[in-house]
C-alpha cells in the first residue's frame, strides 16, 4: 500500500470518515478508525477540533506512532487539557457539550441501530463481542452521531441481533418516544458510500457513492434496501495528501489494516 493511488479498505474508510468531521467542534472518538479519522481531519480541514475520549480525556495531542490502544491510557491522554472522572465526560455529553461522535459496529440496521454486544441470542451468544463501553451513552445523548464501518452485507443487516447503541430504533418518531429527546444519528460513512436518514421515516438514505462504483454495488452489499437520494453525489477517492498524512499518523499500521 505504499503507492498513493492504491489504498486499503480501512485507509479509504478512515479518509472518508475524516471528511465528515467539521472543524471547531468537540468530537467523541474511540480507538481504531474513528481516532485515525479525527487525527487526519485535524491535520487537514479541521485543525481546531477538540478530541474527547471516554477514559476521561479532553483535548489530547496524540503523537504519531504513539497511538493509544485504548481510550484510557497515557497515549490517549498525552498533553490533554482536562482529565476528568469518567462519569463527568458523559455528563458533559448529556449536558450538550459534545457536538459529534464517531462509533463503529459489528452490525448496523436500516434505522442506524448498532450492535457491539452479541451475535445470536444474548443469553447463549454465537459470538460474545466486547460490548457497549461508552457507545450506548454516545448514541443516547451525543448531538450528532457518525457511524463508521466497512460496507459489508453481514454488517448492514435488516435487524441487529441486539441494540447496543440506539439509532432511530424502529423509525418514524420511535427514538423520541423511547425518551431519547437529545442527539441523533447524523451520518453513516462506509468505504463505498455516505448515508444519512430520511427526514420522515428515519430509514437510512444513500447520499453519495464512491467514484467508480454504481449504486447497485452499494445496495448488493446491504441486507436491507435503503432510500436512495434524488441526486446521489459522487465521492472522490482519497487524495495523495490524505493518504500520506494518514500513513504518517499510523506508520506501524497498528490500526490501518
Amino acid at each position: 500500500m505504499s503507492s498513493s493511488n492504491q489504498y486499503s479498505r480501512s485507509e479509504l474508510l478512515a479518509v472518508l470518515t475524516a471528511r465528515a468531521i467539521e472543524d471547531r467542534k468537540t468530537l467523541f472518538v474511540g480507538v481504531g478508525i474513528p481516532m485515525l479519522a479525527a487525527a487526519l481531519a485535524q491535520r487537514l480541514h479541521a485543525p481546531n477540533i477538540v478530541i474527547v475520549f471516554e477514559g476521561g480525556i479532553i483535548a489530547p495531542q496524540i503523537k504519531p506512532s504513539y497511538l493509544p490502544l485504548s481510550t484510557n491510557e497515557v497515549r490517549a491522554a498525552r498533553r490533554a487539557l482536562v482529565l476528568p472522572p469518567i462519569c463527568d465526560v458523559f455528563f458533559y455529553q448529556q449536558r450538550g457539550y459534545i457536538d459529534f461522535a464517531i462509533i463503529g459496529g459489528a452490525q448496523v440496521d436500516m434505522y442506524g441501530n448498532v450492535n457491539t454486544s452479541v451475535i445470536g441470542e444474548y443469553s447463549s451468544p454465537k459470538v460474545r463481542l466486547p460490548g457497549s463501553g461508552g457507545a450506548n451513552d454516545i448514541a443516547s445523548t451525543c448531538s450528532n452521531i457518525i457511524i463508521s464501518t466497512l460496507h459489508e452485507r453481514r454488517r448492514f443487516v435488516k435487524k441487529v441481533d441486539f441494540i447496543t447503541s440506539p439509532g432511530y430504533l424502529s423509525g418514524n418518531r420511535s427514538r423520541e418516544q423511547a425518551g431519547l429527546i437529545f442527539g441523533k444519528p447524523f451520518k453513516v460513512v462506509t468505504d463505498m458510500a455516505v448515508m444519512s436518514f430520511d427526514d420522515e421515516t428515519k430509514t437510512m438514505k444513500v447520499d453519495a457513492v464512491l467514484r467508480g462504483l454504481n449504486i447497485e454495488t452499494v445496495l448488493s452489499n446491504m441486507d436491507f434496501r435503503p432510500v436512495i437520494s434524488k441526486d446521489v453525489e459522487t465521492i472522490e477517492p482519497p487524495t495523495e495528501e490524505e493518504l500520506m498524512l494518514l500513513r504518517q499518523i499510523d506508520p506501524d499500521r497498528l490500526m490501518l489494516k
Binding site: K63, Y66, S70, P85, R128, N136, F162, T164
Partner: protein, 317 residues
Amino acid sequence: MTLVDVKLNRRKIEEKDKSLRPKVMTLKEAVSRFVFDGAVVALGGCLYSRTPMAAVHEVLRQGFKNLTLVRNLAGYEVDLLLASGCLKKLVASWCAPGYAWGMSKVLRHYVENRLAEFEEWSHLGIGLRLTAAAMGIPSIPTFSMLGSDIEKNNGLKHVECPYSGVKMLMVPALYPDVAVIHGSRVDVYGNIQIDGYVHMDREMALAAGRVIATAEEVVNEEFTRHSGDRTLIPYFCVDAVVEQPFGAYPSECWNLYDTDFSHMNLYQKKVEEKGVEGAREYIQEYITGVDSFTQFLEKTGLEKLFKNRRSFRDVIE
C-alpha cells in the same frame, strides 16, 4: 432485577468504625479478611490503567469461588479470574484485552458456553450505578440506555420527571461487597490520593461496603495534613492499607510507569496458541506458582520495570 436494599447498605456503613486508626497490613491479610466466596468485588482503574493487579493475583492465589466482578471496562484481569475458576459473573460495559489483541478468547469461551455470565451495561450505566450507591440513594436518572436492548435485558424501569414531564431511565444502585483501589499514595489511615485520571475510583470506593487500598507508596499522617486537597477518597471508606510498589503492573500507573505491552503480548500469545489452557499455564507460571506479587515482579525483571518508567516519559514528552 433484584430490588435495591438501600437501608441494609446504609446500615453496613453506619456500623463501620470511622475512627482515625492505622490500617496498614499485608496484601495477603487484606484479601483474606475482606474478600470471600460469592463476594461482589469491584476493581478500580479502567481497562489497563491503574488496575489493582497485585490484589487480583492475591485473589487468585487464595482461590476464591463464585465471585462477581464489577468494572467499567474490563480486560486481561477477567481472563485470569475466569480461567482460574474464581469468577461466575462479570458486571461491566465492555470486556476485551485492548485494541491490539481483538476479542478475549477466554471471555468468549466462558460466556458462549454459558459457563459464566456477562451482564452488560453502558459505561455511564456502570458509573451511575456506583454513583447512586455512593450518594446513598437507591437509583439515579439518565437518558443513557433508553430504547436499547441493554435496557430491556436488565429490566430497567422509567419515571416521568415530576418537574419537566420528561421520561428518564432509573439506574439501580450497585453496592459491591468490596472494592480494591490502587492509588498513587495512601496514608496509614486510608486517605487515597490518585495522580492523573481518576476513572470511577471515587464512586466505587464510596459505593462498596469495604475497601482495600493498595498504593505505590504509604505515607504518614503529616504528608496528608499538608495535601488534603489532593485526597480523592476519604480514610473512612478504607478498611485495609497496603503498600505495593508497581501494584498495577503490567497495567499503567500515571506518572510512574507505562503499560508493559511486551508482557501483555506474552500472555496473549499463550491464549492465542492454547485458548483457556494457555491462560491457565500463565496463571500457574506467574501467579499461583509464586508466593507474592513481589516475586512475580522479580520474575519479570527489574529491567522491564525501569523500561516502563522511561516509556511513560517518552509518551508524555
